[in-house]
C-alpha cells in the first residue's frame, strides 16, 4: 500500500483538529501570501546557505592561486552575509505566520516531535550569525587558517539549520510517521523524499548565490573593475553548474514522491494555479540553463546578469507555489484536516490595514535602498561597500 493511503487511513487520529477560531481571511489570500513570502525568504536564505558554502571555497582557492580579484569578490560577498542573515530571519517570520494559519496543526505537531532538535535550531542560527561577523574580521586581519576554520563552523551551523527545517517539512507532510517518531524513532529520515529534498535546497542555494555574486559585480561600484568582472563571470558559472545539478536533484525529488502526489502536481489545473505556476517554473528552469550558457559566453552584456536574475526570481515563486501545492494535495487525503471556506471568519479591516502597511512598507524600503545604492546624495569621503 502506498504511503499516502496509509497516511489517510491511519494518521488522522493523531492530527489535531482545525482551530475552532477559523481563518481570519479568505483561504485564497493565504494561499497567495504563503508562497510569495516564502519566495522572498528564499531569496535571502539561499544567499546565506549558498554563500557560506561557495564564498569560503572561492576565497581559499583564490588565495592559493594568488587571484586577488577573486579574493576581493569573496570578501565583498562575505560582507553582505550578515545583512542577508538578518533579512532571512525577518522575511522568514512572514512565512512562519502564514503557515501557522493554514497548516498550524501539522506544523506544531512536527515541531514538538522534533523537540530539542527543533529548539536547537536557534542556537545554530545564533552561532552562525555571530561567527559570520567573526570570520570576516579574521579574513580582514589576514588570519587565513582561523578564518577558514570559522567559516567551516558557520557552514556546518547553517547546514544543520537546513537539515532541521528539512526534517520539519517532511514530518509536517507525513503524520503517519508521527507515532514512530514520538516513540523514539527517526523514521522521517527514511522517507524517500528526505534526501532529494535536502539536496534540492542546498544545490538551489548555490545557484542563487552565483546569481547574487553576478548582481553584486554589476551593482557594487566600490569594487575595482577586475573584481567586478570576476564576480560576474564566477557568479554566472556557479549558477550554471548548480542549475544543471538542481534540475537533476529536482527530478529525483519528484520521482521520490508518491504516485498520487506526482499526479496532483502534474494536473496543471486552472483550479489550482499553484500547479500551473510550478509547471512554468520547471520549464523556466530548463530555459535558465540555456540563458546562463549564453550569459557565460558574453558576460559583459547587461542582460547576461539581469535576465537570469529575473528568471530565478520567477523560479523561486513557482517552486514555492509547487511546495504549497504538494503540501495541500498530500494533506487533503486526511479527512477533515484542512481548512474549508466555511471556516473563514473574515476580519476585513485588519486585513486591509496589513495590505496597506505592506504597500507603504515596501515603498519605504525601496526608497531607502534607492537612497543608499542608486542615488546617494553625499560624496563618501572614505566609502567602502560595507563598513
Amino acid at each position: 500500500m502506498n504511503a499516502l493511503l496509509v497516511l489517510a487511513e491511519s494518521a488522522h487520529a493523531l492530527v489535531p483538529p482545525r482551530d475552532e477560531f477559523g481563518v481570519p481571511g479568505p483561504l485564497w489570500v493565504f494561499q497567495i501570501l504563503l508562497p510569495f513570502t516564502f519566495a522572498l525568504h528564499a531569496v535571502f536564505m539561499n544567499f546565506v546557505l549558498g554563500g557560506v558554502l561557495v564564498l569560503p571555497v572561492l576565497w581559499a582557492v583564490a588565495r592559493r592561486r594568488d587571484r586577488q580579484e577573486l579574493v576581493d569578490v569573496a570578501m565583498a560577498g562575505m560582507s553582505y552575509l550578515p545583512i542577508a542573515v538578518s533579512f532571512t530571519i525577518t522575511s522568514g517570520v512572514a512565512a512562519l505566520l502564514f503557515v501557522q494559519v493554514v497548516y498550524g496543526h501539522f506544523f506544531y505537531s512536527a515541531n514538538i516531535l522534533l523537540g530539542w532538535q527543533w529548539l536547537s535550531l536557534l542556537a545554530y542560527l545564533a552561532i552562525g550569525f555571530y561567527l559570520v561577523y567573526y570570520a570576516r574580521h579574521l579574513m580582514l586581519a589576514g588570519r587565513a587558517a582561523l578564518a577558514l576554520i570559522t567559516l567551516v563552523l558557520v557552514a556546518a551551523s547553517f547546514l544543520m539549520v537546513a537539515h532541521i527545517f528539512n526534517n520539519n517539512a517532511v514530518l509536517s507532510l507525513r503524520p503517519d510517521l508521527w507515532r514512530a517518531m514520538h516513540d523514539g524513532g527517526t523514521k522521517h529520515a527514511r522517507d524517500a523524499m528526505w534526501t532529494p529534498r535536502y539536496l534540492h535546497s542546498i544545490v538551489g542555494s548555490v545557484a542563487v548565490t552565483g546569481l547574487w555574486l553576478a548582481v553584486l559585480g554589476r551593482c557594487v561600484h566600490t569594487l575595482h573593475e577586475a573584481a567586478r568582472r570576476a564576480a560576474v563571470v564566477t557568479g554566472l558559472w556557479t549558477a550554471l553548474t548548480a542549475t544543471v545539478f538542481q534540475v537533476v536533484t529536482g527530478f529525483w525529488f519528484f520521482v521520490a514522491l508518491e504516485r498520487p502526489a506526482q499526479q496532483a502536481m502534474l494536473s496543471f489545473s486552472i483550479r489550482d494555479p499553484r500547479t500551473l505556476l510550478w509547471g512554468f517554473a520547471v520549464i523556466v528552469a530548463f530555459v535558465q540553463i540555456a540563458v546562463l550558457w549564453q550569459a557565460v559566453q558574453r558576460p559583459e552584456r547587461p542582460r547576461s546578469v539581469w535576465l537570469p536574475a529575473g528568471l530565478v526570481g520567477f523560479v523561486l515563486i513557482g517552486m514555492s507555489a509547487g511546495r504549497e501545492a504538494l503540501r495541500a494535495h498530500t494533506l487533503a487525503l486526511i479527512p477533515n484536516a484542512l481548512y474549508q471556506p466555511t471556516d473563514v471568519r473574515l476580519q476585513t479591516t485588519p486585513m486591509l490595514l496589513f495590505l496597506l502597511a505592506l504597500i507603504v512598507g515596501l515603498a519605504v524600503v525601496a526608497m531607502l535602498l534607492c537612497w543608499l545604492f542608486v542615488r546617494p546624495e553625499a560624496a563618501p569621503p572614505n566609502a567602502s561597500s560595507v563598513p
Partner: protein
C-alpha cells in the same frame, strides 16, 4: 491535549518561555528606545553643531545593528518556537485571531531592519538631512512594532468584550476590541518609558567602550543619555492607571495577594525608582557614571523588566488567555468542559494515552497520563514548580479534596477537568510520588517526623 507534549526536565516549559521572552523583551525594548535616542540625538547634534554627540551616535549605531538585529531577531523567532512547542493550542488561538496584527507588525519589523542597515551604512553615503530622516524612520518603525505587539500581549490579560463580539459574529469589531483592550494604552505608555530608560542606560554603558572619549566627553554624553531615564517618574501614575484596568482578582496578587508576585513587583518598582533617582542626580550634578555603575544600572533595568514581565505573566494565571484558555490548554468554555468531563481527558489525549493501552493501563499509570495532560504545562515533578515538594506529606484525602476544589482553594489554578475515575487516578499518582512520607491518617503536627529526616 491534542498535541504531543515536550517534557522540559527540571525547569519546565513555562520557565523556558520566560527565559527566552525576558531576554527578547529587554532587547526589543532597547531597540525601540535606541531608535528614538539615536534619532533625537542626531537631530539635536546637527541642529546645535554638537560634533561630540554626532560622533557618539555614529559610533553607537554599530551596536544598534549588532545587538537588536542578531540577538533580538533570534530570540524573537525563539519565542515563536518555544511557545509553539510548549503551548501549541494557545499559539494557534492567538495566530488565528491576530495573524493580521502580527503580519502588520512584521512589515514594521522589515522596515526597521532595512532602515537600521541604511542608517548604519549610510553615514558617508547619505546627506545629513536624509540620514536624519532614516533615523526617524527606524525609530517610528521600531515603535510601531511595539504599538501592534502590545495589543496582543495585553489582550491575553484583559480581553475586554472580545468573546461577546465574536459570539455575535462581529469578527472585525472583536479584533479591534481585543487589540485596543482595557490595558492597551497604559501598557503602551509603560513600555515606551521602559524602552527609553533602557536605551539611556545602554548609552551610559556604551560610552565607556568607545575609544577616544575623554572624561569630560563622557560626562557630556551621559548627561544627555540620562534625560531618557527621567520619564520613569511617570511610571507610578501610569502603573496605577494600568492596574485599575485589570480585574479585581489578578490586581490583588502583586499587592499582597501572592508573595512571589508581590516580591517581584516590589523588585521592579525599587529598581525603576533607583534608576530614576540616579539619572536625576547625574543631570543635576553633572556627574560622571563609571562603567561599574553603568553596568549596575543595566542589571537593575534587566531585573525591573524581568520582574514586571513575570508579574504580568503571573497575574494572568490560571489563564493563558483570560476567560478563554487555561494554562494547561483546555478551553474555559462550557461545551468543552462538559464534553471532557463526560468523555474524560485521556481519550482526548491520544499522544499521552495511546488508545490501545488506555483500557489496560493501571490506575497509577493513568494518573501519570492525567498529570501529563493537565499539569505538565506549569509543573515539573521535581524541578521548577515541582509537584513532589508541593504535596509533600499530603495524605490521599487531602489530595482528593484539593483536586476536587483546585480552582476554589487556589485562585491561580484551573479546575480539574475529567471524569471521576481520572481524578482518582491523578490522586493515586500524586500520592505515589512521596512514598516514604505516606501518611494516610491525619497525624498531630507535633508528632510528625521532621521533613529533613524523613526525606528518602
Amino acid at each position: 491535549m491534542y498535541y504531543p507534549a515536550l517534557g522540559v526536565p527540571r525547569i519546565g516549559g513555562s520557565s523556558l518561555i520566560a527565559v527566552v521572552a525576558i531576554v527578547h523583551v529587554f532587547i526589543a525594548h532597547f531597540a525601540v528606545g535606541a531608535g528614538i535616542l539615536n534619532a533625537v540625538a542626531e537631530t539635536r547634534a546637527r541642529k546645535t553643531g554638537d560634533t561630540l554627540l554626532l560622533r557618539f551616535v555614529r559610533d553607537a549605531s554599530k551596536i544598534l545593528v549588532l545587538i537588536p538585529f542578531v540577538i533580538g531577531a533570534v530570540t524573537g523567532v525563539g519565542i515563536w518556537f518555544t511557545i509553539a512547542v510548549v503551548a501549541p493550542r494557545a499559539t494557534s488561538t492567538l495566530i488565528h485571531n491576530f495573524v493580521w496584527a502580527w503580519a502588520t507588525e512584521w512589515v514594521f519589523f522589515f522596515v526597521e531592519i532595512a532602515a537600521g542597515y541604511v542608517y548604519y551604512y549610510g553615514w558617508d553615503k547619505l546627506s545629513p538631512k536624509r540620514h536624519v530622516i532614516v533615523g526617524w524612520i527606524y525609530a517610528a518603525a521600531a515603535w510601531l512594532s511595539l504599538v501592534v505587539i502590545n495589543g496582543i500581549i495585553t489582550f491575553m490579560l484583559t480581553p475586554g468584550r472580545w468573546q461577546a463580539l465574536r459570539a455575535e459574529g462581529r469578527w472585525d469589531a472583536a479584533f479591534w476590541q481585543a487589540i485596543l483592550n482595557p490595558t492597551y494604552w497604559p501598557s503602551l505608555v509603560l513600555r515606551t518609558i521602559s524602552a527609553l530608560a533602557i536605551a539611556g542606560i545602554a548609552a551610559c554603558v556604551l560610552v565607556h567602550f568607545l575609544k577616544s572619549y575623554s572624561r569630560d566627553d563622557r560626562i557630556h554624553l551621559i548627561r544627555f543619555a540620562s534625560w531618557f531615564m527621567l520619564p520613569l517618574v511617570l511610571m507610578p501614575a501610569v502603573a496605577v492607571w494600568y492596574f485599575f484596568q485589570v480585574p479585581r482578582y489578578p490586581r490583588d496578587l502583586p499587592f499582597g495577594g501572592s508573595v512571589a508576585m508581590s516580591m517581584f513587583f516590589v523588585f521592579g518598582g525599587i529598581c525603576s525608582a533607583l534608576i530614576f533617582l540616579y539619572a536625576l542626580g547625574v543631570i543635576r550634578r553633572h556627574d560622571h557614571v563609571s562603567l561599574g555603575s553603568a553596568f549596575v544600572l543595566l542589571a537593575m533595568a534587566f531585573v525591573a523588566t524581568g520582574s514586571m514581565e513575570y508579574v504580568r505573566e503571573g497575574i494572568r494565571k490560571p489563564y493563558v488567555i483570560r476567560g478563554l484558555l487555561w494554562s494547561n490548554g483546555i478551553a474555559d468554555q462550557p461545551a468543552e468542559v462538559a464534553r471532557l468531563n463526560a468523555e474524560g481527558i485521556l481519550p482526548n489525549s491520544p499522544w499521552i494515552a495511546p488508545p490501545d493501552r488506555l483500557a489496560s493501563a493501571d490506575r497509577r499509570i493513568r494518573g501519570e497520563w492525567v498529570f501529563k495532560a493537565e499539569c505538565i504545562q506549569c509543573h515539573t515533578v521535581d524541578g521548577v514548580n515541582g509537584i513532589r515538594p508541593l504535596i509533600y506529606g499530603w495524605n490521599r484525602e487531602m489530595l482528593d479534596l484539593n483536586i476536587r476544589n483546585l480552582h476554589l482553594l487556589k485562585g491561580f489554578m484551573p479546575p480539574f477537568i475529567g471524569t471521576a475515575d481520572e481524578r482518582d487516578a491523578l490522586a493515586e499518582y500524586l500520592h505515589s510520588l512521596n512514598p516514604a512520607n505516606r501518611v494516610d491518617q491525619p497525624v498531630p503536627v507535633a508528632d510528625a517526623t521532621p521533613r529533613s529526616e524523613a526525606r528518602p
